[in-house]
């Protein structure tokens, strides 16, 4: 077990004077799952880019089976046996599974020489892809077009591609960020099989429970520095967080300080064909209602319907006993509903606009002077919000693209808050957010409830749901299967109802 397949010695890298990585060490054993942990900006992605040859380090070396790789180009490192499964999967949707797996290597696979070497041999490509997928134990047709696959299936194809490349080291960057719990189980089984075959995995994730489930070893980076490497068994969640954040977080989930008030939102027998049916719940002032369930259970769809992004077919939604049927988000916002989407890049912020312009976007009517914009009031409101939410930004004019995930999320929350909502729906509010910022977002959510707002929080992270919610609504396949109080809810119970 002591034979290291990959050794990284004293890597440093600066970008325009800023040290992104400072003397990093990293040793990977054959057949182990080695988690790489760190907050956003800790240097994980630069480190990965160096490993796969996208970035050349200033000093230090990368040794794969004793051979110095530093300075090699991507195509070389790939040939030598380092593959990466990217968070945003890189596929060509119009090609088939088999064509994607062997993309760029058709010539080797087709197995024809001489004058025929430029010809495709699709049947051979399909045969080899089928064999490969079979060996992995996944049920994907090699002739299926990529665009018809689920995210999880695409990931499997990427892994198959890595295996077909004879990868000795596979780097997985947030592989579970967009797949369901059940699919995670399949993925982990494949990782264990790969381990057994002697393939080493470098695993990057923000999800603590996954890290402890799958990894053998954990290395932590912080601010571009190497903090330490421990065996997973030696650590617990708090100790790991302490390593990552550099301080102890005594209490992850803040307690309510105000009693729950009167009902603000009530939903009765809400249904939309093919998406969800018979959904009934209410949320009160000062309360956090958690919406739990697997991917595709209909949680986001319910939120979208309430917010006027999608239509719904039956049932009733009321705010303070007055029925509402929002046809556009504008109507929902005007009635006091706010929605922070799970899809931050798609439905959240506007990348090419500044922090100020994003934050005030839903409440421009407060800054109207005739048809013109009152820049003064806009500026002061933005500065206040940046201070309130502790948004880390170079200024109100900074483009949102350049902020970290957590701060982008805060900008979106700020925008929603400035429209003075009474009911806020937060959909996966901490997705892609690092641990330190997560804690701040939890505090923020609780304080909003304490200020008398009604909160609906959708989350796939059970610890988050359990820690923060006052009541938990569990959904399964578009139906509501349980409404649990904080006292009775446990991780197991929620999971049982979520798969019911």
């Amino acid at each position: 077990m002591s034979d290291y397949i990959l050794r990284v010695k004293g890597i440093s890298k600066s970008f325009s004077g800023v040290k992104a990585l400072d003397n990093i060490h990293f040793d990977l054993k054959k057949g182990e799952v080695h988690a790489l942990m760190g907050e956003n900006g800790a240097g994980k992605s630069t480190f990965m880019k160096i490993l796969i040859g996208l970035v050349v380090p200033d000093s230090g070396e990368v040794l794969l089976e004793g051979e110095n790789l530093s300075g090699s180009h991507v195509t070389e490192t790939l040939k030598k046996g380092i593959s990466m499964i990217h968070q945003e999967i890189l596929i060509i949707p119009e090609l088939t599974v088999a064509q994607n797996i062997f993309l760029g290597r058709e010539r080797e696979v087709s197995g024809k020489g001489g004058i025929l070497s430029g010809w495709l041999n699709d049947s051979e490509i399909n045969r080899q892809a089928a064999a490969l997928l079979d060996r992995m134990g996944v049920n994907i047709a090699p002739k299926a077009k990529m665009k018809h696959l689920s995210v999880a299936q695409m990931q499997m194809v990427e892994i198959a591609k890595a295996i077909s490349n004879n990868a000795k080291v596979i780097i997985m960057d947030e592989p579970t960020s967009a797949i369901s719990e059940k699919e995670v189980a399949t993925l982990f089984q494949i990782i264990r099989d790969l381990k057994a075959q002697g393939v080493s995995i470098i695993y990057i994730s923000h999800k603590m429970d996954e890290i402890f489930q799958i990894s053998d070893t954990i290395t932590v980076l912080r601010d571009g520095k190497y903090i330490g490497t421990k065996r997973a068994a030696e650590l617990d969640q708090n100790a790991l967080i302490a390593m990552m954040v550099g301080r102890e977080i005594d209490q992850m989930f803040p307690e309510a300080t105000q009693p729950v008030g009167h009902e603000l939102l009530s939903v009765k027998n809400l249904g939309r064909a093919g998406k969800f049916a018979n959904i009934t719940f209410n949320v009160k002032s000062g309360e956090i209602l958690g919406l739990a369930g697997l991917m595709g259970a209909g949680r986001t769809e319910i939120a979208r319907a309430i917010f006027g992004l999608d239509h719904w077919d039956e049932g009733e939604i009321s705010i303070k006993q007055t029925p509402i049927r929002a046809r556009t988000p504008r109507e929902a916002i005007d009635r006091g509903i706010g929605y922070v989407s799970e899809d931050r890049k798609g439905l959240g912020f506007i990348p090419r606009m500044s922090v100020k312009d994003n934050i005030t976007l839903s409440s421009m009517n407060n800054h109207r002077k005739g048809g013109f914009i009152n820049t003064h009031s806009e500026q002061s409101v933005t500065e206040q919000m940046i201070a309130d939410l502790k948004i880390k930004t170079a200024g109100t004019g900074q483009h949102v693209t350049y902020l970290s995930g957590g701060n982008q999320q805060k900008v979106v929350i700020g925008r929603v808050l400035l429209a003075s909502p009474e009911i806020i729906m937060l959909d996966e509010p901490t997705r892609g957010v690092d641990v330190g910022a997560k804690f701040e977002i939890y505090k923020l959510i609780r304080s909003l409830a304490d200020r008398g707002m009604a909160i609906i929080m959708i989350s796939s992270e059970l610890p988050e749901i359990l820690g923060l919610s006052d009541r938990i609504l569990v959904l399964s396949k578009g139906k509501q299967t349980a409404l649990l109080s904080k006292a009775e809810a446990t991780q197991e119970l929620i999971m049982r109802y979520a798969v019911a």
């Binding site: 992004l309 556009t328 916002i333 798609g346 439905l347 506007i350 990348p351 606009m353 976007l361 839903s362």
Partner: protein, 310 residues
């Protein structure tokens, strides 16, 4: 990356200054007051159209019907501008009204049908051409009143009237884009339409406005052209949309939406005007002018792409 994006922002100004310098050195006739006024005059129509299409491109759309709108509005205005028939406001209102109506039609079809703007305005481009021919029965509408002809041909204190219109339009468009809520919403819609909608912006309404404004500015261009050549020509303005779009793109408006400035567009229009003016001064055939223009357009987009990269 910062270095490049800065260059993308200011590159157009630099390029413009550099080209002017080269021209001033190569022909003494370039840098004279009278020639600069002529350039301003020649640029005015394209600049007006370019302002309009800048709004549209910022919201992530496109308008190919500009040239046709120039023809329709020109012919419509000319029909009411014969001497001793109607007061001057009538042809102006008819022209501007026709342009706004066509623009609003574009906006309506685009927002209601969800057909891409490229296709819708391709359709209205052809419809407009037909309308102009129907209105004019295929013949130029000439014999226009002196007041009407003043718009495109007159001077105030030695400054051609079209330049004055251009400067006013530039000021108004800049204010609309930068100082009004509508302008802010345009950037938001083009920057990320779903997010803009989720932020409570009535996206359809913003688009309606944008296409209507574009039609209005095209009408202004159409009236200016008609007055300048003292006839309403049904086949006028063919290909104007491409010059206008080129000016916007050279000026740094991204075709993917969400960015762009009126100043950039004005410089883009000036650049096109300066090049065609100076190549005439140097007696270079128009074939080369087209090659030069193409190179500049591609160059501008390449710079824009470099600026966007991470």
């Amino acid at each position: 990356m910062n270095r490049f994006s800065k260059f993308g922002q200011y590159g157009i100004f630099l390029a413009f200054a550099l080209i002017c310098l080269v021209l001033a050195l190569s022909t003494p006739k370039f840098f004279t007051i009278s020639n600069l006024l002529i350039i301003g005059n020649q640029v005015s129509i394209n600049a007006l159209l370019a302002f309009g299409v800048t709004f549209v491109i910022i919201t992530g759309g496109i308008d190919l019907s500009l040239g046709s709108m120039v023809a329709v509005t020109g012919v419509a205005a000319a029909s009411f501008a014969h001497p001793d028939t109607y007061p001057l406001v009538v042809p102006l209102l008819v022209g501007l009204g026709a342009g706004s109506a066509m623009g609003a039609f574009n906006g309506l079809v685009i927002t209601k049908s969800k057909v891409p703007p490229f296709i819708v305005t391709l359709g209205t481009m052809t419809i407009g051409r037909g309308l102009a021919l129907i209105l004019s029965k295929g013949r130029p509408v000439s014999n226009l009143s002196d007041e009407f002809n003043f718009i495109g041909g007159g001077n105030i204190a030695g400054i051609p009237f079209p330049i004055i219109i251009l400067l006013i339009a530039f000021a108004v468009c800049s204010v609309v884009l930068n100082k009004t809520i509508l302008g802010r919403y345009m950037y938001a819609v083009g920057g990320n339409e779903p997010a803009a909608r989720a932020s409570g912006i009535r996206v359809s309404r913003v688009k309606m406005w944008v296409y209507t404004i574009c039609g209005l500015l095209s009408a202004l261009g159409g009236i200016l052209l008609t007055s300048r050549i003292t006839t309403g020509q049904p086949n006028a303005g063919a290909g104007f949309e491409l010059d206008a779009i080129a000016a916007a793109i050279i000026g740094g408006t991204s075709t993917s939406g969400g960015t762009g400035t009126m100043t950039g567009t004005l410089i883009g229009a000036l650049l096109i005007g300066v090049i065609s003016n100076s190549l005439d001064l140097l007696n270079v055939t128009s074939y080369y002018q087209q090659v030069v223009m193409g190179v500049i357009i591609i160059g501008a987009v390449v710079l824009d792409g470099v600026g966007k990269k991470d």
